[in-house]
Amino acid sequence: MEQIICKNLSFSYPLSDSNTLESINFSIKKGEFVVLCGKSGCGKTTLLRHLKKELTPAGKRSGEVIFNGAEISTLGDRDAASKIGFVMQNPESQIVTDKVWHELAFGLENLGEDTASIRLKTAEMATYFGMQDMFDQKISELSGGKKQMLNLASVMVMNPEIIIFDEPTSQLDPIAAGNFLTAVSKINRELGITVVMTEHRLEEVFSCADRVIVMDSGRITIDCTPDELSEKISGTDEFVKLAMPASIRIHSQLSKGKSPLTVNSGAKWLSSLFEEKKLETTRIEPKEFEIKSNAIEIKNVFFRYEKNSTDIIKNLSLDVPEGSIFAVMGGNAAGKSTLLKILSGALKPVSGKIKIFGENIKKSGASVVAMPQSVEALFTRKTVREELAEMKASAEKTEEVIILTRIAGLLDRHPYDVSGGEMQRVALAKLLLKDPGILLLDEPTKGMDAEFKTVFAEILYKLKSKGKTVVMVSHDIEFCSVCADFCTMIFDGAAACVRDSNSFFAGNKFYTTSANRLSRHIFENCVTDKDVIELCKKNLK
């Protein structure tokens, strides 16, 4: 049965002459898992909001949105609230009350349910999502992943038929994001709830999605199953290709037809490709990096937050070569962010030595700047221009940085009115005006789509070519593999090892890129798509 039908939906915002949505036609069956993707600013969010009566934006609209056989605007308020759920991007700002149990009850209170039925329903939901332990907790004590899970649960408790997700994992680390997507696919499979989702991380959702809809500047350009999409991928835009899982990306460069969707099937396909063939080159040589001197030298550093607490950083020693892009990886609470704070001078180590460009850390103040995880913390002014002016840099310097970070078009906008990826670049620009020798980045790719990531990587390359050192803490394996010269893993407060990124990821078994996992049984040292494609082409000739 068709649950949602969009017929010729067009929409434009007030004071805008172009249509944000242009004759959109699609239908969604009950129980389907639909992934919607497209560049940022292509109208994804606007479209999603048309599927939820309360959030439909004001503006000029034509065409129809039909939910369960009736136009969505004629749907009763009560049904509209309970039958269609909506989960947004930012886990923090969707939460209304201060305790977990109250947040779960919030929707039911609005529906006017009595105490007994709220008690039953919240109990059921808390049990289903495994939240019994945190039922009494204050929400401010939860991690981001838990908060987003709570947002899902407090929508689920209203018994929706369909849930709409607007980039639900973009603010989460990969592990929390994985857990969240697993929970979503579980409610889809087990409870038959329809899921409509926009998502950057196609790698994980691709295998559980029934359909993929691709949008470009307000229109639907592709609407098919993941299988079908993998066949016609070579004919699509660059951003669609970038967003695809590694197996599809590699396959589309080498052969035609149906692509493997997972790492496992990708590996099998690669084996079949070279069956009974003699391989000439099976190894890629790591990029050379000539170490002249070290930008940062950390020797035997210990750190703990309180006198009697356990050490967060234990006997950590690390050298960061000057002019390199250096990635620090590791799980949650491994001490990565603490290390960044120590390097930026915000925290002082209990013992050990840190030298920055050969000098003691205290003296080098201005040459190290750090970009916080949520860049909004850097914005205090009315326009981007004023934000930059705050740094008191010369006009030429400002001009140079604006060009480097590509924010010339944003100068007169309010910093909160630009998109997530743009915000990141404005923050970077602000920091670069200090002309730092060392740039510290905390999870810089959080919330960026694949296309923004390539732009961001290019900016980092340019900085590197100017001799700047970049240290980033990140969970983003794919990004680090492409971008970093050196990688290290922090575990239990100490750095496990420092290697060039190729040997680092090739040496790991799990904590490595999809391209590596799918090619490691044939090739050595292949970490990025490019590596795999290069070797395949060499051998296939």
Binding site: D77, A81, I95, T115, V369, T380, E390, Y416
Partner: protein
């Protein structure tokens, strides 16, 4: 739990604290004030531990003295003149005693409120008033959610600015920097509120007939407590109305004597004021007995 009384239904807590505070104001006979002060301090020490003793000696006791002094020096009623002050007015015994009584009342009220703050948490408060005013109750909840969020964000902004090299030396520059940080937090808070509003609307906020959920249910122990408190309150009120407990300090100190009715009412009053402590003791005994058996 600091006290078994905390586990009681909010209505039980409300009746109890309402009772002790109103009685403290109405029964200004020294015996009754003494009972109330002793019980409030005892319970406050039980709830807050040793720091409460420090609070008493460093804040509450000086307060009592202060109120007594203000009264003694500014009020000049009374018949028992002790001496003449520098401004020609006389210092009277009545004004000192009445001042001390008033000071004691101030201390008692504050101490009972200290206990109230420990026992009646936000959740309990919301249970008591949320049913009548669901929107205001929600508003309070949202404020309680936002406050730690904003304080945390202020820390983030200060850190971010420090790490961006925006912190400058000098007192004036520091204040200016803090102002910018606060301004950043305000913008952040307001901008994010848009998403919160959307999230509320999408979960049906604004529908007619919003209810207010709370997790408290009346247990048999709660009902026993309510019944006991009603009986005690009735007896004490009857004692007051029938004139067994009178005290006036102006112009002459006149106190009800130790009549049987007064002693009787005082005993009931003491039982009422020590109720939470008795409740705790009862719970302790029961627990020990259970533990001993197994």
């Amino acid at each position: 739990m600091k006290s078994a009384f905390c586990r009681c239904h909010p209505a039980v807590n409300l009746i109890f604290f309402g009772g002790v505070i109103v009685f403290a104001m109405l029964l200004n006979h020294p015996l009754f004030l003494g009972i109330s002060m002793l019980s409030s301090l005892a319970y406050a020490v039980k709830l807050k531990g040793k720091p409460m003793l420090k609070t008493f000696f460093l804040f509450l006791f000086p307060l009592l003295i202060g109120v007594t002094l203000i009264n003694a020096l500014t009020a000049h009623y009374g018949v028992t003149k002790l001496c003449t002050l520098w401004d020609g007015n006389s210092l009277t015994l009545e004004s000192i005693v009445y001042g001390a009584v008033t000071g004691a009342l101030v201390v008692i009220t504050i101490t009972w409120f200290m206990c109230w703050n420990e026992v009646v948490t936000e959740d309990k408060f919301m249970h008591l008033f949320g049913k009548r005013m669901p929107h205001l109750a929600l508003l309070v909840l949202m404020v309680l959610r936002f406050v730690p969020l904003y304080i945390n964000q202020l820390k983030e902004v200060m850190d971010a600015r420090k790490n961006a090299g925006l912190e400058s030396e000098g007192k004036f520059a520091k204040i200016k920097n803090a102002c910018h940080a606060v301004s950043g937090v305000v913008t952040w808070a307001l901008e994010h509120s848009i998403e919160t509003a959307d999230s509320m609307k999408s979960r049906g906020y604004g529908l007619k007939g919003r209810t207010s959920y709370s997790r408290f249910t009346l247990s048999p122990a709660d009902i026993t407590m309510v019944a006991a408190m009603i009986i005690l309150i009735t007896v004490i009120a009857a004692g007051k109305i029938f004139g067994s407990i009178n005290a006036s300090y102006n112009p002459v100190i006149r106190l009800s004597g130790a009549t049987p009715l007064l002693i009787f009412t005082a005993a009931f009053y003491a039982f009422y004021c020590f109720l939470p402590i008795f409740f705790d003791i009862e719970e302790e005994i029961r627990w020990n007995r259970l533990y001993a058996k197994t």
